[in-house]
Amino acid sequence: MKRDAEPATNVQADVVIVGSGAAGGMAAFSLTKAGLRCILLEAGRDYDPQAEVNMFAPESDAPLRGAATPDKPFGYFDATVGGGWQVDGEPYTLREGSDFRWYRPRMLGGRTNHWGRHVPRFGPYDFKPFSRDGLGVDWPIGYDDLAPFYDRVERMVGVNGGPIGLENHPDSPPGCLMPPPHPRIPEMLIKAAAEDLGIPVRAAHTAVLTRDMPDAVAPRSACLNATPCTRGCTIGAMFQTTTSLLPMAKATGRLTIVTDAMVSRVTMARPDRAAGVEYVDRKTGLRHTVNARVVVLAAGTGETTRLLLNSGEGGRGLANSSGELGRNLTDSTGASFRAYIPALADRPRYNEDGIGGQHIYIPFWLYQQQKRGELDFARGYHFEIGGRFGIPPADAVPRVWGSALKKAVRTASGATIQLTLRGEMIPNKDSFCEADPVVKDRFGIPVLRFAFRWSQNEVNQVAHGRRTAHAVFKRMGGTILDPDLPPEKIMTAGGEIIHELGTARMGADKRSSVVDGYGRTWDVDNLVLMDGAVFASGAHKNPTLTILALALRASEHLARRLKSGAFA
């Protein structure tokens, strides 16, 4: 039943922000600090980590020992609320022959509540990929444009790490990073073996505090070296907008947050000027409108794109004169490699919890070989490192029973290691999203339909990664536990790494891109995009730090425009 839209609140907003994750949280923080009144709409429910996170319960308190299920894809205690790979009543569809996974939480703070926390900087090559290898497109900005914002974001969100000192892996200036944690034994062994093969290993950059971060409103504490980060962090050691940017923005008195607000479209004052947005209250089904001088979309790559596709006139979507809206969809490549390392069997026990995830990682190191044409793939990949004490995987335990099984478990605990590949995908014409012409969600909003295909470039990259990982394992005398399958069969599905990017990309002109270097849509001056949709390329580097830096830069640019009298 369609009801007439009615004004949601009496708030007079300068800016309406859609989404409360990394991009929306940063926009709300930056714009309210600049003196602007903001209303933030979040599709999911209200969420307070301090009230809800069960940080210390053992997995044995949970159903199924906390194992992943379709209801809780990353385990029972994982912070994801109301969604996951599926959201009830809000499907998405696939073009025939395509496989794509779309991860959607429905909660204040979005994915920052349960994210991976690995925050490498993009480097100079990553912003000019076309200039380097003739594939894809260049960004309209370069590393030097974003570097000051990387510096500030690292200090704002709290990042630990060390120097990298490698080509296309920029180091942070002094004062940006907190000290990294000591590596664990399996990580140290991987470092020794990899470096013996000429493969570098460095301290990872991780968005977890290793020093207290005082603040009058949202003080955060250094990591207590225990509990799984993806449950959320009641002491604020892991960066989440719900324990940092959002409460700090609220404390200005200039932020209104509305949760359970599923935005359905951007409303227009005239063809080149947005009036605000229309949303559906998830609890009542009522439609409301919010008017503002500027509309910021930070709903996540897929939802931001869907919103634009479902707005505007004539079915072409809003801000799509270039025809690029929905195109250039990428995800990171993914594959995992594992081995049993006899040298780690029965090793002395100690506490390996550390700061949660990896302490060190393998950055991409083959830029010169690639430049000389010695590799059969373009762009890079990195390895994230895993391996700790705990219950060994079933395939590291022999088919025995009785006292032999108990002995085998003790021996194998802490003796398996994992190298997880994350690589860059080059945009291709067969990977995109579009509004489904038929299927609508429970609010009557057309859903997204995805098409996706890896190219030979990505397949060759994963094959190279497997050869590399297995060489490292063999150097350690390891027994490889991976099935012997072609690379196509060991790659993750599109979207599965949850790094979907690029469907409203930025560029130097309105013919080939949806937004400019500040996320401003070429067609609608007061409509600004701030999430992963604006990426012109994905790099192999986890995107959240770059999303935060771009959102900060775009927000400050927007604040200057508003203060100079634009959109009066």
């Binding site: 308190d61 209801d71 073996a193 003790r410």
Partner: protein, 237 residues
């Protein structure tokens, strides 16, 4: 019909007489070659039972109360089946100086909770476990005229040995997969409890203020020796 050990031997002799490349059976399509499989020491092998699919059951949903975890689905095992699972738990992970047996520790309750859950992985495991419990009793009856819990320790051990071979013959593929599933579930259920963590010597889940201390000197010494044996250099920093 239950093929006897003699029948199995006849298959094996037939296989040996054939060029291997042409020796294909449905069992081989599953990667199992009777010619290479371990033949059990008993000469009767019970048929694998058909298990009807379970009725639908509720999951815990996408937004459960994390502070008060609840299992909303009904359990599966009858008292006699649960007793068999507990006996199997104490055989698969027996009491020793380091920890109690998995059956005595109550891990059977976790097995029942797991196989009763409405999710795809658990439904697949349910078919293996419920089928396997029926098979195990049928096999015990065929050999010893008693259910599995009523036969002697040596007879139980013979059965579990037959279910733990690296390469089973075709007729034993499903029973061995049952044992694999039970082993995996008992290991998960047992070593996630405090008694199991203590058995592994697991140290963790302890809030520690200040910088992460890293490996102990004993762990570092063990590491240095491992590097030496591999001819690897101690990495810098």
């Amino acid at each position: 019909m239950t093929p006897s050990r003699r029948t199995t031997m006849q298959w094996m002799m037939a296989a040996a007489a054939m060029p291997l490349a042409h020796w294909t059976t449905p069992a081989m399509a599953e990667g199992v070659d009777d010619a290479a499989g371990a033949v059990p020491s008993f000469d009767v092998i019970a048929d694998w039972p058909d298990i009807p699919p379970p009725p639908p059951a509720p999951g815990y949903g996408r937004d459960p109360d994390l502070a008060n975890p609840q299992v909303p689905w009904p359990l599966t095992l009858a008292a006699a089946q649960r007793k068999t699972v507990d006996v199997l738990g104490d055989l698969i992970l027996p009491k020793d100086a380091a920890s109690p047996g998995a059956g005595a520790l109550g891990v059977g309750a976790f097995i029942d909770e797991w196989i009763s859950a409405p999710y795809p992985q658990q439904r697949a495991d349910r078919a293996k476990v419920v089928g396997g419990l029926l098979w195990l009793d049928a096999q015990s009856h065929a050999l010893h005229n008693r259910a599995f819990v009523g036969i002697g320790p040596q007879q139980q051990a013979t059965l579990l040995d037959a279910l733990s071979v690296p390469v089973p013959i075709a007729k034993m593929v499903a029973p061995v997969a049952f044992m694999d599933t039970l082993r995996r579930l008992f290991v998960l259920g047992f070593y996630s409890l405090p008694e199991g963590k203590a058995d592994m010597g697991y140290i963790g889940d302890q809030p520690t203020a200040g910088a992460y201390p890293g490996p102990t000197s004993e762990a570092l010494s063990h590491y240095a020796h491992a590097l030496g044996r591999m001819g690897l250099k101690m990495p810098t920093a």
